[in-house]
Symmetry: C2
Subunit: 540 residues, 2 copies
């Protein structure tokens, strides 16, 4: 049955009417926050996280209408169908089973009548054994040196999730292990990684589902060339994470090990698959990776089972829709008050903007309203000293604050202004959301704050692997819930194709140039200028 546009639903009309009401001064956040019990009414805990949306521009009637929207859209049913292996990625005819990647119990999950859990468990077991053998020195490089430098060769979804998690969990790294990322085809990326590693102690982890991704193949080739120059055997320094039967899983091109990815897990949702599992297990040990899976599984279960009113990712998704389509905010800032979460904005940027940066619905009809917002962010308090001037006094945009209750470092004995650094950080986290909401209208113009700027605050207990897993799953579930409201397919990404096709044409022209042939006559004049500039080493 085709899915109707969300704008045709009764709840959508109700929300439009409410949005107009919310513009009145009696609905300024300064006023809303005066109501007793505001926090209790507009917060929820579950899946190991706490979510406070009391500083969003909502009143009970708005939340009720959003809950109606969730019901009219059957969001929980849609999530259940995704988790159960339905072909929810309709344009590509695939299931979307990132949740199966962290299923640790014995329950089967069927795709087209086939239980996929045995192969998922087999890959996990293969990762566990391989990582243990590397750490025990049973698998070494071709000169016998134990592996200490792990270089992930992969781009987009093949590295952003693992890069986030690895940075978040750096304190958990096994002694001596170092993890590097070679994503960009830019030769500076390769040059800097090559300068930072001990080649004999380096294991290259090449990650590409198709094993044809241009950037990744170019970098894998550079790596192979580099190893040969150093007198090393590339076969004994390389593993692949790729689809079964891809050119990276070909007995004619042997590697130390090939770990399979499945077509039912998309790149940006793949951090709990072998894509994250291989690098994170080598860096942290498999047990910590499994803890991360456990946290993700916990949040998956919460997203599946918690009622709409208490369902964290679902609440967050509804608020994205409210802010995007009814209050017309174009962007969302993600501000973790935790330096280890510094790479979360870049991960969620890909996860969400690639999933929901769409203009047509699943039926191929143009959307009547915009979908996904622009997502960006930096850690607090750094962000306060950067773009928060604009957040407070320039164009408004909603912010998602993230706080961590228990830090990894104790710091008794070094207090500034009678508080610890963590307390100072926390004071700022709490102050910013209030300052944005209430403002300060009664001052001279340049010191005036209009307030009414919405935010949420998400709390984590700590920065351990389980908490990080919960956070990853929270953002994945929230992203797909948003897509289910808009009726879009969050699992395809045809929008990246046109640029690739055009780059291929230019690459062929450059290859012609390299071979001493002239540039093609039909090249557009701007491209011709750029190709000539590159060849000449300048534009003069």
């Amino acid at each position: 049955m085709p899915l109707a546009p969300p704008t045709t639903l009764p709840a959508w009309a109700a929300l439009n009417a409410l949005a107009a009401r919310m513009q009145g001064p009696e609905h300024h956040l300064r006023r809303l926050l005066e109501a007793p019990g505001r926090l209790e009414a507009f917060s929820a805990a579950g899946g190991g996280l706490f979510y406070d949306y009391s500083r969003q521009r909502v009143i009970p009637a708005v939340m009720d209408a959003l809950f109606e929207l969730a019901a009219q859209r059957d969001l929980k049913g849609a999530f259940q169908r995704m988790v159960s292996g339905d072909i929810v990625n309709t344009t590509e005819g695939r299931a979307a089973l990132h949740t199966a990647a962290r299923r640790l119990d014995g329950t089967p999950v069927y795709v087209n009548g086939r239980n996929v859990m045995p192969e998922i468990r087999a890959v996990r077991e293969q990762i566990r054994e391989f990582a243990a053998a590397v750490h025990a020195g049973r698998i070494t490089g071709s000169t016998g040196k134990p592996f200490r430098d792990i270089v992930v060769v992969g781009i987009g979804g093949s590295y952003l999730g693992a890069a986030f998690a690895a940075h978040a969990l750096a304190e958990d790294a096994l002694p001596g292990m170092r993890l590097h990322f070679l994503a960009n085809v830019d030769i500076h990326n390769f040059g800097r990684v090559a300068a930072a590693i001990d080649p004999e102690a380096t294991l290259w982890v090449v990650i590409s589902k198709s094993y044809t991704t241009t950037e990744t193949m170019a970098n894998a080739l550079q790596a192979e060339h580099f190893m040969r120059q150093k007198g090393l055997d590339p076969v004994r320094h390389t593993v692949t994470v790729t689809a079964k039967g891809s050119p990276g899983d070909d007995p004619a091109r042997p590697v130390l090990a090939a770990f399979h990815m499945f077509d039912f897990i998309g790149g940006r949702y793949s951090v709990t698959s072998a894509v994250g599992g291989v690098p994170l297990s080598l860096y942290l040990g498999y047990e910590r990776f499994e803890e991360l899976l456990r946290g993700a599984e916990e949040m998956d279960r919460h997203a599946l089972e918690a009622p709409v009113e208490e369902n964290l990712p679902l609440l967050a998704a509804l608020l994205t829709v409210w802010n995007t389509n009814f209050l017309d905010y174009p962007a969302l800032g993600i501000i973790p008050y935790a330096e280890p979460l510094a790479k979360l904005p870049a991960h969620v940027q890909q996860l969400n903007m690639e999933s929901n940066g769409k203009s047509v619905d699943r039926e191929g009809c143009p959307l009547a309203v915009p979908a996904g917002p622009i997502i960006f962010g930096e850690p607090g308090t750094c962000a306060q000293h950067s773009f928060f001037q604009l957040a407070h006094q320039g164009r408004p945009f909603p912010i998602e604050f993230i706080g961590v209750v228990r830090p990894r470092y104790s710091q008794e004995g070094a207090r500034s202004k009678a508080v610890t650094n963590h307390q100072e950080l926390w004071a700022n986290l709490v102050a910013q959301s209030r300052a944005l909401a209430v403002g300060k209208p009664e001052a001279s113009p340049e010191r005036r704050f209009e307030g009414n700027r919405p935010s949420s605050t998400l709390l984590m207990e700590d920065l351990g692997p389980r908490s990080v897993g919960r956070l990853l799953s929270f953002y994945e579930a929230r992203t797909v819930f948003e897509a289910f409201v808009w009726g879009i397919n969050p699992f395809d990404q045809f929008g990246v194709e046109l640029g690739k096709t055009m780059a291929s044409g230019l690459r062929r022209a450059l290859a012609d140039q390299n071979a001493g042939r002239a540039l093609p006559d039909d090249l557009d004049p701007i491209a011709r200028f750029y190709l000539q500039t590159l060849a000449a080493g300048g534009w003069d």
Copy 2:
């Protein structure tokens, strides 16, 4: 004479009329790019950079009206007054003389009748001598070990510019020197820096104009505590960059050296002052820092002297205004096709969003139109595999591409698909701007690209210090030109004050808690919940 709002100028009305015209299909970028000589008409070179705006949604009539706007607003006169030491930061009664920081000729610059160049030159000379003494081992830590780890303790403008330049110029680092940044008050930031350094070989560079910045003082205290624990003398491991006579420049609190900052250079414009000069000279050597100054000076001169039609930062500023106020784009993506420029978006985010994220003009009147856009970005090609799905098929936003003609690494012998990595990178740079502009309308819905998405491309010759200096100055000049159009003061940042004040209140409550006293009765209930959650170690 009070400055009239830009919306009252004749050119503004003309631009409004033109913006309406530009919505027609005959002004789709696909059509505009068919015109012969499009690139020649809409590009300019100067100050060592090349700027191509042929893929912006402009026609000659639009540019003419923008040039009229520049004339009616006297943008070049305003820049001249800034460079000459006029009190252009009116709310704080200060000049804005970041351009004087890189003036290498003998010309005087007067502020309130006093030539400031002698003191600027004296600080530069002090940096040169100090860096040379450190590198020669004449100045060492308290155990006699030469300094190898430099830790910048500073936040916002006190580190973002230097962090960008240091990352860009990593290949130029002096052998063995390592540069770290301790910005966030988060104890994880301190913990990770402390774990990465050799304490005996570490020089702490504490940067704060007032020497009262909360985060920086808390981190400086942690550093001092850490040094004492390690049996080191903090006096012999610390330098300060601060205002003359601040608590960081107090003979009663001795340090190895105190380098002065001046009230006529704001934090986000300070990378060419001692704020960038001390860390970069220690990391790269003073000569390379001076090369960076030379590049910045070159672009300053271009911004000052080039006619409007050929003035790169002025052209870029006019296009920001066109995109922001007439085509209504809320954001700008900065996408350097160069991994070493990875930290440019974060630097420009602060520079521009803190300067132009304002709601009132210099007269204190509310702006009739929004000012600064939201700025974000990641390096290409990584961005293509992240949020470019949205850039191509979701909500449109303008993009500024940056290309580098000559890479630092040669790579003969390792070609993929018959091209070098740098050629592959370049092919993608050129392809993306065209794909965004022309689109592909004739496909199945999910593969359809509407195009008409604007972009500019900025080219640099290479990634040497001089080119990086040009780039820094380009973004500074562009930011202030934008502000001059809007009539706002880009040099103040009162928008960060309210959050600070509120954080102080919460800090006092936490200090009370630490001292065993109860939380104040008038604490708002949401803040109370958060403070109790922190104390209890959880929200249950």
